[in-house]
């Protein structure tokens, strides 16, 4: 099952195709990459309380440029410069692409504990 094994004919077709036509396994990998960000930024980039900011539905170019600016140090940060340096530019593009494609919506806050149990 790993590393990724695909039939030769399929692989060529897949490489010629774009992200939108990506098969499930490839979309899964991009989603998993974006999911590394969500411990802080909220599931699918919908931030509970808005701090740190939501990423869902933001412009792809803006997200990518912001992350690249963190990576180079052009944009000051408390922690994001340290995170952005851990990703290749290609990975940052996949992350930006994923969050840009998420519909902004209600964040998923953890519910209160039930009373009396």
């Amino acid at each position: 099952m790993r590393p990724i094994l695909v039939r030769a004919g399929c692989a060529a077709a897949l490489l010629a195709a774009g992200y939108a036509a990506a098969p499930a396994w490839a979309q899964d990998a991009a989603r998993s990459l974006a999911a590394t960000c969500t411990a802080c930024h909220g599931t699918d980039g919908r931030s509970v309380g808005g701090v740190p900011p939501s990423l869902a539905g933001r412009d792809k170019g803006e997200l990518l440029q912001t992350m690249k600016d963190f990576k180079t140090g052009k944009r000051p940060a408390t922690v994001m410069h340290q995170h952005a340096k851990g990703y290749s530019d290609e990975q940052l593009e996949l992350i930006a692409n994923y969050f840009a494609g998420v519909t902004p919506g209600a964040a998923a806050a953890a519910p209160a504990a039930r009373v009396n149990n």
Binding site: M1, I4, C10, A13, L14, K85, R114
Partner: protein
């Protein structure tokens, strides 16, 4: 053929040239399966939620002995009087609403051959994939004076958030001004590397405010401060100057509960409140299931899937795992384990390829008082040659100083990582 990581990422990054890829769609398609999750903490709750988010047709059951989730991160602030236990306690209704079965029960045995989990209630749960996220259990056998339940109730660990957190806070409140708080903790690896040093700050913050003649004696089994050393020393030598007596290489030998004394190899230290975190290892169900592979304490995993290296079909998450190099035992790291595991479990059940290049990220905040916080961060990438996660060079680091801004981010982190687990 093998699609290399480089080709894979290059293709993934492509954004145009969309074309139907007929004939390649059926690269899987197996029926949905049953997943059982032991433990509803940061690992188990997050994994169960993500399996439902990403594959709602998979049946997911979480076995959890408690009726509420209490967060270890932020729990030191309860000791400092800077928040209340209710603010870090949450319920499982969010997961229930997503279709996760929550069973309040205790997993007592795993039959890996039959693919079944037996519960304390007598029920058995069959599974296609089992996720074990048992947290830690303490090794009291090595501490004669703490073997009895009574002794354990008097000298607390408060290293699992919940009733012990509240009880230790009460002991601190009851301590007279001028008293001595003695805090001992074990050699690394232990749960939450910066946690002990944050606890010292929180107790110092409380003493400074409420009983300023009191002292803290820190008995660290490690030869030096394990995490954020410069930042913690800045607090101890600054705002808490004169309050903290830090003693490295202070490995525990025993505790005299009657005499309120911590016994070390060459010294005995008496206090008014004792707080001892015993050495710990993977939670007991991991041992029963045969998942322990290292130092009789930790569970080795395949980092591509989080599957046990000892028992097929069982995945292990969180502090119970044998950590990869430079990987902390933290809630943040466990959140990442859970999502790599969720994706892999779905892929394995559905017959899809597993992501060959998982990434993980860690951010841990520590509060030095009620408002100011500081972080340690790292990024970890799978290394195919070494078959483990390795810290990405040049990434990660610590804060330049504790700040109120990072205090705000720390609470934002908490609310979001709680949402990831339970929302």
């Amino acid at each position: 053929m093998t699609l290399s990581r480089r080709e894979f990422v290059k293709w993934m990054a492509a954004s145009s040239g969309a074309a139907a890829v007929a004939g390649c769609a059926g690269m899987g398609g197996a029926a949905a399966g049953r997943v059982v999750v032991i433990g509803g903490g940061y690992g188990g709750a997050t994994a169960s939620r993500y399996i439902k988010l990403w594959a709602s047709d998979i049946d997911v059951t979480v076995v959890e002995r408690n009726d509420a989730f209490v967060s270890c991160p932020i729990s030191n602030l309860v000791l400092g009087g800077n928040t209340q236990i209710g603010n870090i306690t949450m319920g499982y209704d969010g997961l229930r609403n997503r279709g996760v079965n929550i069973m309040r029960d205790d997993a007592v045995a795993v039959d890996a051959a039959a693919r079944q989990v037996r519960l304390a209630s007598g029920k058995t749960l069959p599974y296609d994939r089992l996720i074990v996220s048992p947290g830690i259990d303490f090794m009291y056998d090595s501490i004669p004076g703490l073997k009895s339940a009574d002794a354990q109730n008097r000298v607390l660990h408060a290293w699992k958030a919940g009733p012990q957190t509240v009880a230790l806070r009460k002991q601190l409140e009851a301590m007279p001004d001028g008293g001595v708080f003695v805090f001992q903790f074990p050699m690394a690896p232990y749960r939450c590397p910066p946690g002990p040093y944050e606890r010292v700050c929180q107790v110092a913050d409380y003493f400074k405010r409420a009983k300023p003649r009191s002292k803290i004696i820190v008995l660290d089994a490690n030869p030096d401060i394990v995490s954020k050393k410069g930042l913690f020393l800045a607090a101890w030598n600054g705002m808490y100057k004169g309050m903290i007596d830090y003693r490295p290489n202070s490995e525990l030998r025993d505790v005299d509960v009657q005499g309120m004394t911590v016994k070390l190899a060459f010294d005995s230290v008496k206090g008014d409140v004792l707080n001892v975190v015993p050495p710990h290892g993977a939670g007991s169900v991991a041992r029963q299931a045969g998942l322990i592979t290292a130092n009789q304490r930790w569970c080795g995993v395949d980092w591509l899937t989080m599957e046990s290296v000892a028992v097929k079909g069982i995945h292990v998450l969180g502090d119970a795992t044998l950590s990869a190099p430079a990987m902390p035992k933290s809630a943040s790291m466990t959140n990442q384990h859970a999502k790599v595991c969720a994706a892999a479990v779905i892929a394995l059940i559905k017959g899809r390829p597993v992501n060959p290049q998982p990434m993980m990220m860690n951010t841990c905040y520590s509060f030095v008082d009620g408002k100011n916080s500081m972080h340690v961060a790292s990024v970890h990438a799978y290394d195919a040659a070494q078959k483990t996660m390795v810290a990405v060079k040049g990434a990660g680091g610590v804060s330049t100083a504790a700040s109120e801004l990072e205090g705000t981010y720390a609470w934002g982190w908490a609310r979001n990582i709680w949402g990831e687990a339970l929302g």
